[in-house]
Symmetry: C2
Subunit: 396 residues, 2 copies
């Protein structure tokens, strides 16, 4: 068995025999609908609030598995369980998505966070395909258009910046739109797709990319200039690298090898800059001028950062065969698989301290749901499967 | 020399020979007015934004030193330097205080945070006494009344909670008002003072105190019930203990030994619960049911938590002579003085990881200014001075 096949096998088994069963077993709220996401190490529930990010992401995950792995009725039923809850309770009058709800669906936190809308759109787009549900497709589309309408002031009335003093554009929304636009391609009017992707690629690879350093900055001035402030100095390496595999997906779709090569170069330089040479793993936040970041959690090792980096490196390797991708892949793989999975109770830890010790023994919380781990496991499984298949064929 | 005298000496020297000179040397922005607060380890400035919390707190500190230690003209000039900047730029139309300004005073972040107003009121109250400035006294009073007017919805339009679903009262404002009311006594109409203090003491010692556990909870329902949610489970031990010395001050002012004893009991039980038996030091956040807190920085060791605990223990010991206060004092003293001061460059580190290693090498930042360290050093100096004086007198 080749290394590629062994990796494909590892990822497939982790996805189908460990992670997905964990969520099937623990997350369904059969009383009130929707999903629990706050789990102790053993899967017991410690909080019952419903966070729209995580409700949407789990609907997406089970719909995606149904669409891409196999059409298991149980997966579709779980997706529907979440979609029904979101439809019944998730939107404020006007169509913006709340940030969180109480267990039974009463709205708790206002729609100040546009990523709730992004993950709701992603959920209903994928669910529409799985369920053949036209109303879900329409809801995904309406939500997507509402996001585009709100994109210049995503926080709306909850924006605390005094207008005009230091206007900033944030990386997260254009980054997510790269992925969301591809995700929603089946439900979007075809004329919209290319223009939207062009805008995302320009934002990510021209506006937010500091080409001199091959570094993505989180916040820039509207004219693209760097800003010397806490926000303007912030680097979020996991974010940058996750965006790079979104860009590789776009590059692959468009047959644009230059774009792929550039995304791989940014991935590698981000890794070089953010790898912790003392304890291993990637830092969560850095200041691009080397000053103390505002985020006290800056040196922690987070599950999603490492999972998204594995996807970027595996995909970058598959698309370019650069030895540096493979070397980094092996290094990040060893760290990730040594530190995050919990063989005793299943699923992955989310939050480690700088030394790689468990900082919070949770399996799910306010921000960790059924998303980065299964999505990354699925992507890596499929990437290694295709690498193995290519290897099995005679060269040239 | 008795232990009390030695401690009094240690605190006086740290205040007058190290900490205050650090701020005198590095913090004055002679070009644009106000204070720099973001310092690297060596005192060099890494960010020039002006945070109203920290501008106000430094005006308070230098005014307090002038009023209580000695009337050095240089201290009054520094207080005036900050007060003039605050008066010129700090308030939004309507009188609420901004959260932050750019270096030259342009408003950056809206008045979403009522503690900006609290520290502005504290600043101008103390400055009014130092400068004999009636306009400053009037500004302190107007700001105080504005805080009381806003106290039921301190975040105003920036409050993201959907009204009615899970109303919560937060501990921070009543806690600060305990201290602020005593601070402003010289400028407040006498009729107001007692009623305001009664309300604060009731809030802190009845509403937010879980008497069964001698534990202060950060957020409660309007009727005083405990709430089982992330916010409702949150404990902030440093906050609780800082509030306890505010309460001891009130107890001393009122000659209420029962109130003092109760505050000491809460201090000790909070310490028992939040002390890190593995690495020493006090945790920053805990969940009262033992679940994973939402705050990723939960296990870090912060300067202000330890400084405020030293004040509470020294004062609690001076007022009750309980051996447990002294034992805890010695333990927290050893940890604090071993870990926070930086003999090489002066002042104190602010943020240590769980093991007590420096997490951020800053001496000042967005939240650490010229306040907790000098205020705590001053209070401990004076408490040990009075303990030494009492010891020097023959008993009985």
């Amino acid at each position: 068995m080749s290394a590629y096949t062994a990796y494909a096998d590892l990822y497939r088994r982790a996805l189908l025999d460990d992670v997905i069963p964990f969520w099937e077993r623990h997350s369904l709220d059969r009383e009130s609908g929707g999903f629990f996401t706050c789990f102790n190490r053993d899967g017991s529930v410690y909080d019952t609030d419903k966070f729209i990010w995580l409700q949407g992401r789990q609907v997406w995950t089970f719909s995606m598995l149904y669409n891409r792995v196999e059409p298991r009725p149980a997966w579709l039923a779980i997706a529907r369980h979440g979609a029904d809850f979101l439809r019944a309770h998730g939107q404020a009058p006007g169509g913006d998505w709340y940030f969180s709800l109480k267990r039974a669906g009463q709205p708790l936190v206002q729609p100040y966070n546009i990523f709730s809308d992004c993950f709701a759109a992603m959920a209903f787009g994928q669910y529409a395909l799985a369920a053949g549900d036209q109303a879900a497709a329409a809801l995904a589309l309406a939500t997507y258009h509402n996001i585009l309408r709100r994109q210049d002031n995503p926080k709306g009335p909850y924006n605390k910046a005094v207008p005009g003093t230091r206007p900033l554009k944030n990386f997260a929304l254009p980054m997510i739109l790269c992925n969301l636009t591809l995700e929603l391609e089946p439900v979007l009017p075809p004329a919209e797709v290319d223009g939207a992707i062009d805008a995302c690629v320009k934002a990510v690879m021209r506006d937010f990319l500091d080409a001199d350093r091959n570094q993505i900055v989180e916040n820039i001035a509207p004219d693209g200039q760097r800003v010397d402030s806490f926000e303007g100095r912030l680097l979020n390496p996991g974010h940058a690298i996750e965006a790079m595999w979104f860009i590789m997906d776009i590059g692959q779709r468009r047959g644009d090898q230059r774009l792929i090569d550039q995304a791989v170069a940014v991935t590698l330089s981000t890794l070089e800059h953010s790898w912790d040479n003392e304890h291993g793993g990637m830092f969560y936040f850095l200041d691009r001028l080397g000053y103390p970041p505002q985020q006290l959690e800056w040196d922690q090792k987070l599950w999603w950062v490492h999972m998204e980096t594995l996807v970027a490196l595996a995909l970058g390797y598959a698309l370019t065969r650069q030895p540096a991708c493979w070397e980094w892949y092996e290094r990040v793989h060893a760290y990730t698989w040594d530190h995050f999975p919990d063989p005793a109770y299943g699923e992955w830890y989310g939050y480690l301290n700088r030394r790689g010790e468990v900082l919070l023994p949770l399996k799910g919380g306010k921000w960790k749901g059924c998303f980065h781990v299964p999505r990354g496991l699925y992507r890596c499984w499929k990437i290694f499967e295709s690498l193995a298949a290519a290897q099995a064929q005679p060269e040239g």
